[in-house]
Symmetry: C2
Subunit: 351 residues, 2 copies
């Protein structure tokens, strides 16, 4: 899934180059490329499909030149994860109706790749030839209020547990209770099931979305697929797979572990996992001289130098034509700032 | 005088484009151009000479295309104001030994131009045909510790007073006493005298510098002038006109007034005179959205947007390849920062 347009990382992420397309870690590979590389270790590249917005087609083919254009599924409108997954399941079903599939965001970080891939391989086996649905749960290490949690119930053996509930983002008090209980895990947005199982779940729980892809099934993989999708995809309900399917389905399991996972959802989460200097400043890109400054995260364009003095707990991000300086604790306001910028005259260069 | 290379305004000022060449006020004219325009109102442009470093010759001719290259006196080395003024006096003397001259920095701001030009015109008359030396004194409006002061003595009539002493930068306590006394004025670095008078003063008080220009006198204005200057100017003592001449000379007068003068010596002084928004933020150039921010001074390149949140009393300056964020009260550290930047590898682009 590579359709996000997140504005939380403005000005580093832009409309024409959202987070998944950026080399966030300075490794030379974007998050999308890292995600592709990861899955290509356990499956043939031709079995990897990328679902994204039409606007990003050329960017995707540029970043992942080893795939065929047909492996890029293009949404004409943003409709959250449920329609995205229904579309992918329909296409895979047209190729192999007995296939199992793993669904994953393209803009998360996984540092323990072996553990992650072992979990995916084992998970795909676990859901093969049955009607189980599986999610990956991340063992929490702090009372995080920014994630949804999965409550695990009865142990099924092999690390698999029955899911008791999916919960929304908790407040801090609740998050602390979750952490202590040992029963709650972060929802990483990684799902596994057979295409038969997920299509049956859509038919039962999101019948209108299901109908779009049942009707379109004969066109999947044909030259008419895009025309059909362009016409009918926008009519799909805007709903997440978690809310539309997972919370209501039976036979939902979770495989929990520590995969060095981060959703990189905030500058704060990026700061947390980044290498820091002796004053706990993380300079991700560019060259910065810091004086009387601590706990900052700094991202600069190549070839730029920054001299920062007297800053504590700030985000300093610069791009070719925009600069953001914002307290780390106030980063939720960035969406508002971006909105304000978009309301300026001649804003198109900035967003 | 346009030879400064001040690093206090880094990264806005650079080695290859110091403060006097910058459009500091966003008026479309650099400080040098504004200074030239100002004096051109009371004297023919061909009577204006610009003394600067050889490195800035083309920049000067580009900014002041209406002058002849011969009006630009080029120093091969930086030797403070005394040798600079001795050189200018020698050149003017070669053209007209009865001339009077006014010496002025090219990187100061004068907002009350009529008052200033009246003072200069009256001052030139005051020093004509006699051996008086005149400085402009600025009536202080605050106990500034960043300037030298002139103590005025006996009133001579017409606003002219005999100078009692030149003083170094005072501490705050002393500056308050100066302010209350009504006897002390800021030294604006603007001087008037006849070329005969200043050359006589050099002969008496700085004989070694005087000798260089007495010997070179026959070459002034000739094709050999630059060769002579290149060879002998660097041997001149590095000393200011204030310390070398004014503090020791007799017949020194001061003409005091309020000319809307600022030496623009610090970001703080620039902030003080700049228009501000309702939160007292001064955005001199570029476009900035400020949130929960006050008392900042912001300078951005054209076409750049900045979103600043949670900043109070900061300097935020960006140029094509450098960014500075620094507390206003700590701006004296900028020289050190620039020195650190210059010690980096591949620093030449940044300084």
């Amino acid at each position: 899934m590579a359709g996000g347009v997140g504005s939380r990382f403005w000005p580093y992420s832009r409309n024409d180059r959202p987070k998944q397309f950026l080399d966030f870690m300075g490794t030379g590979r974007s998050l999308l490329q890292m995600t592709f590389d990861r899955f290509a270790k356990i499956m043939p590249p031709e079995n990897i499909f990328i679902v994204s917005n039409k606007a990003y087609k050329s960017l995707i083919l540029e970043q992942i030149p080893m795939i065929n254009a047909k492996q890029v599924l293009l949404e004409p409108a943003r409709r959250n994860t449920a329609p995205c997954i229904a579309y992918a399941a329909a296409r895979i079903h047209a190729i192999n109706k007995d296939a199992v599939m793993v669904v994953a965001p393209s803009d998360h970080l996984i540092t323990k790749e072996t553990e992650f891939l072992d979990a995916v391989s084992g998970g795909l086996e676990f859901v093969s030839g049955n009607n189980r649905m599986l999610t990956l749960g991340i063992t929490p290490n702090r009372p995080e209020t920014g994630y949804g949690y999965i409550q695990a119930g009865k142990d099924f053996g092999g690390g698999f547990k029955k899911v008791k509930t999916f919960t929304e983002k908790p407040n801090l008090e609740m998050a602390k209770v979750f952490l202590e209980s040992g029963e709650f895990f972060w929802n990483a947005g990684v799902f596994m099931w057979s295409v038969k199982t997920i299509r049956a779940a859509f038919k039962k729980l999101l019948p209108e979305i299901s109908a779009v892809f049942e009707e379109g099934a004969p066109l999947m993989g044909s030259d008419s697929e895009q025309t059909y999708i362009d016409r009918y995809f926008p009519s799909c309900q805007n709903i997440s797979i978690d809310y539309g399917i997972m919370e209501k389905a039976d036979e939902v399991y979770v495989l929990c572990g520590d995969y060095g996972w981060s959703d990189l959802g905030t500058w704060g989460s990026l700061y947390d996992i980044s290498p820091k200097d002796e004053s706990a400043n993380a300079t991700l890109k560019g060259q910065a001289l810091l004086y009387e400054s601590e706990n900052n995260i700094v991202v600069l364009p190549k070839g730029k130098i920054a001299v920062l003095q007297g800053l504590k707990d700030y985000i300093v991000v610069e791009t070719e034509n925009a600069l953001l300086v914002c307290r780390k604790k106030d980063e939720q306001q960035i969406r508002k700032f971006v909105n304000d910028v978009s309301n300026l005259e001649n804003n198109s260069d900035f967003i």
